[in-house]
Amino acid sequence: MAKRLNYLFRSTKGLILVAIAMIGLETAMFGMLSGPMAEWGVRDFVVRVLKMDLVQAEREGRIIILYHSIAMAVVAIETYMITSLLKMKEFYKLAVRVLITVGYLLAMVFGMGFAYWGHNWAFHGLYIAGLTLIFFAGVLLTIALWPWNKEYYQTDKAYSRTKKGVDVERVAFFAAALTTVISALFGAIPGSFFGNGFEVFLAENIIRYPEKTTMEYSVIGHLHIMLALIAIMITLIVGRWLNFKGILHKIAMPLIILGTIVLNLGVWGVATPLEPIAHMIIYVGATPAMLGALMLVIFTWDKLIREGVAGIKKPNGWQKLKALLRDPLRFGPMWQMVFMNFTTSFIGIFMAVRLDEIFRVWPAREERIELTGHWHVLSAIIATIILLYYGDMLGLKGKLRKIYGWTIIILSDLACGAVTIFEMKRLFIGEAVQQPLVNTLMLLMDFGLGMLLVVLAMVMIWRLVDLFKKKGRWTEEVEHELSAEVNK
């Protein structure tokens, strides 16, 4: 038993497994409370069986705690990956992991207990304590990532480095971690302010009001930047996993650092007198960050093609395409980043450009669908990238690797594509005749996400069964570090 607990709570892969399982459980359980599940009566059944206490006036508060608890587990997974991929002092690695693990578990278990099963204020205190521990883990991680320590200088010229040898990729990780910690305050401070008496609000519900308080702007900025930073961090993590290097790495890393800093300045500016130009600053920051990600996509796909056609003298287009697609676990994260543009970035840009002419002519509830839809899709895409990397960590090989990878890619893209069409449906169909289209889109969304959860459940059951074996896979994984598994 002690050995298994040691694996689950002290090894990198064990910690990631626990966090993925917790997210999967929470998503499956609380996903039954909304959308089609509510339509089909599943919500009422779940509420009755689990004896939930859902007060109508507290719905917004419940949702805020729900997605914070999921987000904290995602941040924990990224932290485990960073602490395993990058060099740092053992003390920091241990301290960061202990803090963030205790933190996200407290936030998740007691936060959800508070939100959905009556108001036990001790639970609320433990939820806040959990979030606080995660914040301190972030501070420690930032310190641990300090790049101007000679110990961490980059000696290999194939990677982005300064003349003195400072590892520019590490600077990018550091910048993302530092700005994440600062940006967390933009949520924590108004969170405490609004939390006093539960006068909560969802940002999408106040977006059209011309007068917003500084605290409201702060919340709006916070939710945008935290998701953007989680996305930037997963880009850096995947880059490290796939051993991003060469000229593209040298171009990409400064771009990502610049993008991260400017993007943050813009978002923080939303809560200051800079608000009128904040969006312009955000665009200026988002562009280099996205260009940096594009470099990673080009590098990885080029590498996949080169590896795949090695041995073929003059490969044709078909052979190159086959080479590109032969490993969905390495092709997938990059494809998801590209696909994200169609479901999130381009939608966001289109909305910004035609806001007053199109989207603000529609009712606010229609605009809300677009706003919430596009960040749900972005969150889902980040989750699938983590799952694809996790598939590689599991050591999946052969047909199983292909099935696992392509299932995640196809199902998630099906669901996310359907969400995007659903968001934009008013552009091409009227309310009175939309129902058949809506039914089909809902079916695709539910099928895609539902089957994705089934796949995840199968993996989790497999891992659970493995844990009961004396010499299961877990006994090998207990010593694994991701830095040793970086692609050559």
């Binding site: 519900n205 011309p210 009175a432 005749v433 129902q435 289209l437 039914n439 089909t440």
Partner: protein, 300 residues
């Protein structure tokens, strides 16, 4: 083989998605027994406003329509106002005069100057009325259903035509909640499918495989049994019906620096969460939809 199966499923899904919808599918006729010409008095006093249930006060008595304005009532008005020259035909819409709003140049604010604005469209297939170029007629079976596809200007003009007005958001909210408690719905604290007309509430007017959710007659949720469908009496504490669900209701406030007009009550097209008393929606005053209607208020 597998590929063919998946392609077939995808094609089938797309075909289903493009299936035509019969907008003129007949609706069942039920007599709710609720008089759409009746008004309820809301007494002056305090009540708990909003999601946070903060004390608010209205220091005058006022009256509000017990039901939404019906198609029968609105079509009567259109014919009368068209004949009197208050309204006129302008291409594919009926327009009427509006004195304009003060423009403050706030970000995203659209200037609304004095002029003629859309009241109702005349050629929208989802409208429950017809127009032959001279007179309006209610389509069969829709007489006692709430007027929809009416712009804010159309609602504002209707109420003003009879010497009434649109309720303010505060008036609307008090009329829906009453002054006794912090209930989220006009009838109390919980919602079931038999309380109101909302998305997938499975009322006799709904067909989610085809035209989706449709409006129910005004005052439908009054505890009556219609055939094999039982409703719960869902009137507000002051006796108003359909203050949650069926159609969003235009309210009268014109806010500084904002051209949007606010809607309350949720509709046949929204989930139950939007039926909570404090939920606000808004749109440009020219917006109309099969899910938007209104009711009037007046001073006694």
């Amino acid at each position: 083989m597998k590929c063919t199966l998946w392609t077939s499923i995808l094609i089938l899904a797309l075909l289903v998605a493009c299936a035509p919808v019969n907008l003129n599918a007949p609706a069942p006729i039920f007599d709710t027994g609720v008089d759409p010409d009746s008004w309820a008095t809301i007494p002056a006093g305090t009540f708990l406003q909003g999601q946070a249930a903060k004390p608010a006060s209205i220091d005058y008595d006022y009256e509000m329509m017990v039901t939404d304005v019906t198609l029968g009532q609105y079509v009567g008005f259109l014919n009368e106002a068209l004949a009197s020259g208050t309204l006129k035909v302008d291409g594919d819409k009926i327009v009427g005069p509006y004195p304009g709003d003060e423009f403050r140049g706030v970000k995203h604010e659209v200037r609304i100057e004095a002029g003629d604005y859309i009241i109702v469209p005349t050629d929208d297939p989802s409208s429950r009325f017809t127009f032959d170029g001279a007179r309006f007629m209610v389509k069969a079976t829709w007489e006692n259903q709430p007027m929809t596809n009416v712009s804010w200007f159309g609602a504002w003009t209707y109420c003003g035509y009879y010497g009434w007005r649109l309720p303010t958001e505060l008036e609307w909210e008090k009329a829906a909640r009453g002054s006794g408690d912090d209930r989220p719905f006009p009838w109390g604290y919980d919602i079931t499918r038999n309380n109101a007309n909302f998305y997938t509430s499975r009322d006799p007017f709904e067909n989610m495989a085809s035209f989706g959710s449709r409006t129910t007659p005004v005052g439908f949720y009054n505890g009556q049994v219609y055939g094999d469908y039982t409703t719960l009496n869902s009137a507000s504490p002051y006796g108003l019906y359909d203050m949650a669900g069926n159609v969003w209701q235009w309210t009268g406030d014109v806010y500084e620096g904002m051209h949007y007009r606010f809607l309350r009550g949720g509709s046949k097209d929204t989930y139950d969460m939007d039926l909570r008393i404090w939920v606000r929606n808004n749109a440009t005053p020219t917006y109309f939809s099969p899910g938007v209607g209104f009711r009037c208020a007046r001073n006694p």
